[in-house]
Amino acid sequence: MVHAGPALGKVWRVNNCDMGRLGEYILVVDDEFTIRESLGGILSDEGYVVKTAENGAEALALVEKGPVPDLLVTDIRMPELDGLSLISRAREKREDLPVLVLTGFGDKDTLLSLIRLGCDDLLHKPCQAEEVIEKVREALDKHRRKLADQTDLLRKNTELMRDLESYRDRFEFMRAEIENAVVIYHDLIGQSGSDSKLKVACRSRPFKELGGDFTDIRNTDKGCDILVADVAGHDLAASYHTVLIKAYFEENCRTGKSGEEFFTVLNRSLRENGTNERMVTALFFRVNLEEMTGRLYSAGHPRMLGIKQNSTRAVPVEAEGDILGLHERVAFQVRDIALSPGERFILYTDGISNARYTEGLTGKRRKLGEEGLRRLVEEHVHEPLGKLSEHVWNDVMRFCRHKQADDMLLLALEIPEGGAALRG
């Protein structure tokens, strides 16, 4: 019998099945002829492709031969292979096969097994056409939606993976940029103090890779200009300011302007540049080896320590001045000192004087302070400059138990014995 479906394509019934373009393939299994015929008729009228089978074994043979049905409608009590086993075996071919079960009378055990197996709905015999049509449609719709969701999920997942890849690429790229920046930063900051007219020993350790403390020494025609600066913060912005300071310092040395002018210009520049929360403290020390004098300017920085040759005392050199970057107007006290051959100076940043540790048993905190640093320096006062700087540094590290809380910098200078005559 040929039956024209609701749209294009011929639809055949019974054992000769051709998958029409619109019709899903439904397999109806029941040992009663009338059930098979009426269900088959109702469903094929709706445009579905229907095959029928008399019992579980026949149905299973059809399923295994293929194609696998889009929906299975089956009775439970059948000879040769009952409904439950059929469902179970059919699901081996297609895990998510939707199933409608034809029930004659309620049977609790069967119901329990059905729940466990999972079936989409029940059709009570005798079936009304409308109920059959509706439940079949629902079962198929639900299945279609689930498939769509799964495809959707897969698509979203693929998109996510692609996004992840691109984020990862971006991150790698930026990380490479940062690493480049660090290298460039260190190149820019790298010191030119190895051929200085003074003897120099410097130890430093930044808190993080970028930013923070800075020192530079430049020869002038009469001697040397020395700068030690501490920029608040350890971020990229801090390192930007550090490079700025170095540039200004170089320029200042070239033009020979005073420390006061240098600080004033620097202050203005710091205030102008974006957020005005960039605090800088610094020491500017101009050494004149011809006249054996030194001129010191301080921008709120920890005091420089001076040790005369053959002395056992490290004496702080007093010089007051405003911190840079915070105030509109800044003022600095100038401090002139006489230099003697072999005299040493220790310049440092507050990471050193703020070095601290917590006493184990009592929990009390102890800070090194200027006082503590002086004592450490005085312990090594008889040693050559390089050793002095190394030992004091190690002592400080031991004091804070290697726990750094800030950038640390220690610069030791020595006025040459013969004055300007021997060097430069």
Binding site: L326, L361, K367, H402
Partner: protein, 242 residues
Amino acid sequence: MVKKERDEGSIRLELASELKNVGPVIAELRDFLKDQGVGDDSNVVLVTRELVNNAIEHGNMNDPEKKVNMLASFVGEGRLLLEVEDQGQGFDHRTLNLSMPDDPTQFRSRGLALVNAFTDEIFFNEAGNKVSAYVSAKEETHFLVQDDQEWVVITPTGDITAEYAENLRSILLNQIQEKRDHFRFDLGKVEDIDSISLSILIVFANMARKYSPSAKLVVVNAGKDIANLFEMTRLNTIFSIQ
């Protein structure tokens, strides 16, 4: 297998040297800390985990016959003494370098350096098979804001350092937006103010004075160090230290 002994303010655990015992040890420790009112503190847990791992792997060479003994006892408010002992040969702790290696991929040398970073003090017995560490359960600084008539009283519960800077900044900003202009900072519990936080205080002071010429900024109960700090940085010209 973990044996346990618990006391008023201490807990002793003995375990066979197998890494699978670390989990239960940490669980017991967490329990103990909770009972003592110390939050599930990552400091203490991290240090203990590292020390016990070390004892199992390096001290006892993963030999399940050998035991690791751990003792955690309170020595003060929020402060613990952790002791971990193994039955191994020990090692030469005198040559130990406790600073963090520059290369972050060096896992081996990081262990004890990590422990050092998170503890106040770490020391060894003669043989080097027992490590002791004093740990402070870390406490965050909060900023209490109260009203005293026309004064806004701000009391930090601890040091003002970079990690709390953002918080401080937004609190101060709020006050300015609410048109307050009399500020009293009670720095009794503050032992340290880092440069970032100082910057924030200064910017805040400038802002306050800009918005209200009659603004008053006062600091009370400052310890010697803090008072010194304000002097050295000339902040005592902006904040009146009382």
